[in-house]
């Protein structure tokens, strides 16, 4: 099968959906001629024109609000938020307005919009351009949250997001834009709420999201040479969350780790670990171990930044302990 970059996968998803549905349009900063600073959207304005690929001023709350109103009145906006860190600027329009409108109107108004943004550290971009903030939006009822882990997922999930009748936040890993994966020429969608068993295994379950799927895969390789068979589950969407696939795996392996690039405390790992504990407690041979990013603002210095995110070695280290029945945290 052909291989394309995640960046190209995103571009294709948008182009296909815009061809399919006249009401889809995109807005954000430098999305038209410039095709975004990451050059993800190159070519779209040439095909769809500036009426549908709209350059905005640097006014994130404003264009987020405009997207909400546009979505409520019969169009399907895709909001391009250049960095995930700028989520903090759009939280009111996203969480007080978009997320709640359908419910508050008793089901009468819909807000079918997609907020495309990114996550991921280690790009030497410092504390305001490196955050992975998906836990925040996952906490707000009314928002769906997708975390593609490769070009394949990026395309399939984004197309589903654009067709969804609800606000969806989709986080691309900005370190992965140039990574290639097999992506079919034919159209496909990836449904929300269906996890992917990225690698089957028997000894331990590694639930990994987004950027951490690759880390888990590398860790599984290391573990494999130690004779430990790790199963990797990629939830693909954390709202809705496919609990069954995760639980089935844990019931089989009896051990689980959850790995995510958001800050560990009060983050995504806690929710997934809690659900495993609640529903598979009697199957567990050991506590579920979480690995998130350190609870520190992301430092600029390369000497520090790389310490803040889970690594394959770190994951393998903890997995090994778990499988051997050693404590990971002092008890």
């Amino acid at each position: 099968m052909r291989e394309i970059t995640l960046s190209k996968a995103v571009n294709e998803a948008i182009a296909e959906e815009m061809r399919r549905d006249e009401t889809v349009f995109l807005l954000g900063e430098d999305v038209a001629e410039a095709g975004t600073p990451f050059k993800i959207l190159s070519g779209l304005v040439e095909e769809f024109g500036t009426e549908r690929i709209i350059d905005t001023p640097i006014a994130e709350p404003g264009f987020m609000g405009i997207a909400v109103g546009a979505a409520m009145t019969g169009t399907r906006p895709i909001v391009d938020l250049m960095f995930g860190d700028f989520l903090f600027l759009v939280m009111d329009q996203l969480c007080n307005q978009a997320a709640k409108t359908h419910y508050m109107s008793g089901g009468k108004l819909n807000v079918p919009l997609v907020l495309r943004t990114n996550l991921g550290a280690t790009r030497r971009s410092a504390a305001q351009h490196s955050q992975s903030l998906h836990a925040l939006v996952a906490h707000i009822p009314g928002l769906k949250v997708a975390l593609p882990s490769s070009a394949y997922e990026a395309k399939g999930l984004l197309k589903s997001a654009i067709r969804d009748n609800n606000p969806v936040v989709i986080f691309e890993d900005k370190l992965m834009y140039q990574d290639k994966a097999e992506v079919p020429e034919e159209e496909y969608l990836i449904p929300f709420g269906v996890a992917n068993i990225k690698r089957p295994g028997t000894d331990i379950t590694l639930v990994a999201t987004s950027s951490m799927v690759q880390v888990a895969e590398k860790a599984a390789g290391i573990l494999n040479s130690d004779g430990i068979s790790a199963e990797i589950i990629d939830p693909r969407t954390i709202v809705p969350l496919d609990e069954e696939t995760i639980l089935n795996s844990v019931r089989k392996t009896s051990r689980a780790m959850v790995i995510d690039e958001g800050h560990q405390s009060y983050g995504v790992t806690a929710e997934i670990a809690s659900r495993i504990n609640e529903r598979a407690f009697y199957h567990l041979d050991a506590p579920v171990i979480r690995m998130g990013a350190m609870d520190v603002p992301v430092p600029f210095s390369p000497a520090l930044e790389d310490l803040t995110v889970p690594t394959p070695e770190g994951v393998a280290h903890n997995a090994r302990k778990l499988v051997r029945g050693e404590l990971v945290h002092a008890a």
Binding site: P61, A71, M72, T73, N96, T101, M104, S105, G106
Partner: protein, 329 residues
């Protein structure tokens, strides 16, 4: 009153008058529901500002959109909503416009183009601008009116969306109802400079109009709506008006920020309903009896709706987690 507007005939005058009376009656009943502890929560009365909502909404079609505020009953009535579903909503009943899930601060009526009240001050400025973007993109004729208060002009969101509306020539009218107060604070204490100048700085035409004069409001709005439909928007209007009640129904002892004299003066000199009624009488458009008939009918309507709503049923418990997500086809 102001010169006779373009859309001029007795029917229009009577409808405007009736709509203003309806708003006043709705609020008086809502206030009573609060005072008699029959309404859950608090609510913000629109009484005194009727000419703004009615003057503007009467210049709109059903397909035109409005966004509203925490003080939103007036806009909702003026845009065509019916009392029964409104009172049901205020009481949290299933037959309310939002199945009781929104309440006073989130009442919406999409069948008449009301995209909803909003409990975030300024929160609907983006929504209104986005609705106007839809009209432009889909080549529709619709105009959107974005209602907000003087206090809301302090929110940065307004400047962001004015800038985009101006750059993209969107068919939106920003309507600031300057009732002199945001909560317990006078406007001049929280607004530096000039509101119209703020809009003009973005290259928008801005207007001042007496918000107690329904005909003046209506005439200006008709003109601007027509210009919006021709692609000449956006526009800004500042409408000077006054709220009769406290900031919300519970704001009773308010002399520390507003004198009783001031309130009495506005009510006796600038009441939009009384003054318009008197003008119609003096012009021979209606007589006293006809005005009385209108009032009586509206009162009866309101009372019946209140009675209905009080008896109506609450949403089923199973509704609590319905409508979090819209279904996908």
């Amino acid at each position: 009153m102001s010169p006779v507007p373009a859309k001029t005939n007795t029917e229009d005058y009577i409808r405007m008058y009736t709509q203003m009376v309806r708003i006043r009656a709705f609020e008086d009943n809502a206030n009573q529901l609060y005072l008699s502890a029959k309404m859950p929560g608090l609510t913000h009365m629109y009484s005194g500002q009727e000419a703004v909502a009615v003057g503007m909404c009467e210049a709109l079609e059903d397909s035109d959109k409005i966004t509203s505020t925490h003080r939103g009953h007036g806009h909702c009535v003026a845009k065509g909503a019916d009392f029964q579903q409104m009172f049901c909503e205020l009481l949290g009943k299933e037959e309310g416009y939002c199945r009781g899930k929104g309440g006073s601060m989130h009442i919406a009526d999409q069948s008449h183009g009301n995209l909803g009240a909003n409990a975030i001050v300024g929160g609907s400025m983006g929504i209104a601008t986005g609705a106007a973007l839809t009209a432009k993109r889909l080549g529709k004729d619709d105009v959107t009116v974005c209602f907000f208060g003087d206090g809301a002009t302090a929110q940065g969101l307004w400047y962001e969306v004015m800038n985009m509306a101006a750059l993209w020539k969107l068919p939106v009218i920003y309507a600031c109802e300057n009732n002199g107060y945001s909560e317990y604070t006078k406007t001049h204490e929280i607004a530096a400079g000039s509101l119209t100048a703020r809009a003009e700085a973005f290259g928008m035409e801005a207007f001042n109009v007496n918000g107690q004069d329904v005909l003046a409001v209506n005439a200006l709005t008709q003109k601007l709506v027509a210009r919006c439909r021709m692609g000449e928007g956006p526009f800004f209007i500042e409408l000077k008006t006054y709220r009769y009640h406290g900031h919300h129904v519970g704001d009773i002892n308010r002399e520390y920020y507003r004198s009783k004299d001031e309130e009495a003066h506005w009510k006796s000199e600038h009441d939009p309903i009384t003054n318009f009624g008197e003008w119609m009488l003096s012009e021979g458009i209606v007589n006293e009896d006809e005005l009385g008939t209108i009032s009586d009918a509206v009162m009866a309507d309101a009372e019946a709706a209140v009675a209905y709503a009080l008896d109506a049923k609450y949403p089923n418990e199973a509704e609590v987690d319905m409508h979090v997500f819209a279904p996908n086809a």
